[in-house]
Subunit: 308 residues, 2 copies
C-alpha cells in the first residue's frame, strides 16, 4: 500500500467528523455525521464508519484510519487507556490501540490522557489531547496554555511540547442542564434569543466580583426576571456569562505566568470566550485550522501510517 | 364565628401540607398531599384545598385559612406581591392577599419577600419568610442567621425580628439536575446508595480549599470513578458535599459576626448540613417544631383570624 492518504476520525459523544488527509496532513475532503458514540449501539461502530466513509473506501479499500475522542471510551468501539501526564505526542503514538478485526485495514484509536496517580484529584480527557498537539504544531509553540471550551471545557498547560497538567470545567453541560431542566430555563424563550452583550458583561462582572458565589448568582438569573430587572431574552447570555466567568476566575492564577493562551474552538465559542477574556483583560490568540485533523496526521506520520 | 381554629397551608411547588391550628397556634391535626402548585391546573386550587381539608371543613364549614409558599406565585392560585427587605411580621400582615371568591370563607395568602430595589442584584423567596418568623418566635430570637436548606437553599439575616437580607443558593436543584441529566449521574446507582461519610468529607475539604473551582471540581465526581479512585456508591455523597461546601464557603464571611445560626429543615437535611457546618467549625442550632405552622399562627393572631 502506498501510504499517501489517511482517514482521520474525530469521533465524539454526539458527532463523527471524518477527514481524508494527504501525505502533507492537508484535508482533502471532510464528511460529518450525527453518529456520535452515544447514538450508536455496541457492535455498530464498523458499520457507521463504513457508511460515512463509503465514498473514500470505494476508491481505496485499504485506507488506514486513526480515531480520537469518545470512540475510545467504555461506551465506544474499544476502550483504550488513559495516559498519565506528562504526556507527549510520542507517548500517544506508543499507546495506540489497534483494532485487529478489520480484515487487514490498519485502524488505530488514540488513548486519552489523565492526571498523575499522585495528583490531588482526578481528571480525564479523550480527544482534546489530539487537538492540543495539532494546535501546538500549527502555531509552532512548545509552551502554552490552551483553552478548549465546550461541554467539558479543558484548560491545558503544555510544557516542552507535552501536556503537563490540565483541568476540566463543566461549563457547557451546566448551561445545557440548567437551561433544559432547572427552574432557570422556565423563563427562557425558544429558540434561544440573540446574544445580549450588556447582560453578558453584567454576568461577567458579578461572578468576577464574587467567584465563590456561583450557585447563588445562578439563581439571580430567575430573580432578576421576576423583579422585572432583566428581560427574558437577556437571560441565556447572563447565565452563560456567569458560568464562563466562573471558569475564568478559577483558572486566572495559572494564567499569570505570561505564556501565550491559545483558544481552540469553533468560531462561535472562540468569539464568546474571547469576549470574556477581553473583558477580564487576558491576552489570547485563536488557534488556526482544524487541530484535531492536524494532530491525527502528526500521529500517523510518526507511526508510519502516513508517509512523511 | 368563634375564631378559635385556623387552617394553615404550607403550599409549595411539589407538596401541600395542611395544619389545623388551635388558638394557641398548636397543631391539632396535619394532612399532607402531593398537590404542589406544579401538579395543579389553573382553576383547580379551590378543589384541591377542599378535597384535602374535607374532614375539617365538614365539621366547621367556616374555618378561616392562611397559606404561604408558591401558592402565591404566578403559577399558583393568585399571584401575590414580594415585599422588599427589611420586612417584619407586621409588614407581611399588612400585605396579605385576600381571596374574595370563597363564599364568605376568609382565606389569606402571605406575600413573598424580595431584595431591595437598590440592591446589587435580585433575590426572591416565597414561603421561607413564614418559616423564618415562626422559627425566630419559637427560639425567642430577634437577631440571627437562618439557614433554610433545600432545592433553593436560603440564608437569611434577621435583625430586630425583621428579615434584613437574604441569599438563595441553587444547591438542591443543582444536585438533582446533575444527578438526573448530566454525565455525572450516569455512574450513579439507583436507588441512591447509603450516605458515604469519607466521600462527603473529602468533597467538603476539596471545595473548601478552592471554592472558586466548583464547576471544575464537579467533574472530578466522574473522573475519580473513571480512574478507580472512588467507587460509584460514594459519588452522590461526594457531589452533595461539593455543592453544600460551595454554599457554606460563599456565605462564611457573613457568619463571622457571632450571631446564632439557626438551621430550619427536615431531620435529614438538618443532619447533612450539620455535618458540613461542624466540619468547617461553625456553631449552629436546629430549629424546633414546625416553623411554617408557627409563622402562620403568628400572622393569624395579628390579623384577628385566630383568637389570641
Amino acid at each position: 500500500m502506498d501510504n499517501d492518504q489517511l482517514i482521520g476520525l474525530d469521533w465524539g459523544t454526539s458527532s463523527l467528523r471524518a477527514y481524508l488527509l494527504d501525505a502533507n496532513g492537508t484535508i482533502v475532503e471532510q464528511l460529518d455525521a450525527r453518529a456520535g458514540v452515544q447514538r450508536i449501539e455496541r457492535g455498530q461502530f464498523l458499520g457507521a464508519f463504513e457508511t460515512l466513509c463509503a465514498p473514500w473506501l470505494r476508491a481505496r479499500g485499504d485506507l488506514p484510519a486513526v480515531a480520537c475522542g469518545m470512540i475510545g471510551s467504555r461506551h465506544g468501539w474499544r476502550e483504550t487507556s488513559f495516559l498519565p501526564v506528562p504526556a507527549g505526542l510520542d507517548d500517544l503514538c506508543g499507546a495506540l490501540t489497534w483494532l485487529d478485526d478489520l480484515a487487514g485495514r490498519r485502524f488505530a484509536i488514540i488513548p486519552g490522557v489523565c492526571t498523575d496517580p499522585d495528583a490531588a484529584f482526578s481528571d480525564v480527557m479523550r480527544g482534546e489531547e489530539t487537538q492540543v498537539f495539532g494546535a501546538l504544531e500549527a502555531e509552532g509553540l512548545r509552551e502554552a496554555h490552551l483553552l478548549l471550551p465546550g461541554t467539558y471545557s479543558k484548560w491545558v498547560r503544555a510544557e516542552r511540547s507535552r501536556i503537563r497538567s490540565f483541568r476540566t470545567f463543566m461549563t457547557g453541560e451546566l448551561f445545557d442542564v440548567l437551561s433544559s431542566h432547572s427552574i432557570l430555563g422556565r423563563l427562557f424563550r425558544r429558540p434561544e434569543p440573540e446574544f445580549d452583550l450588556p447582560a453578558f458583561k453584567l454576568g461577567l462582572d458579578r461572578i468576577g466580583e464574587d467567584p465563590q458565589a456561583l450557585t447563588s448568582l445562578l439563581f439571580t438569573t430567575r430573580a432578576e426576571a421576576l423583579l422585572d430587572r432583566m428581560q427574558p431574552p437577556a437571560l441565556p447570555s447572563y447565565l452563560s456569562a456567569l458560568l464562563i466567568g466562573a471558569e475564568l476566575s478559577a483558572i486566572s492564577d495559572e494564567l499569570r505566568d505570561g505564556l501565550p493562551l491559545l483558544v481552540v474552538a469553533n468560531p462561535d465559542l472562540t468569539w464568546r470566550y474571547g469576549l470574556a477574556l477581553d473583558h477580564y483583560g487576558w491576552r489570547w490568540q485563536a488557534a488556526r485550522g482544524l487541530p484535531a485533523a492536524r494532530g491525527m496526521a502528526a500521529i500517523a506520520h510518526r507511526t508510519g501510517l502516513l508517509r512523511v
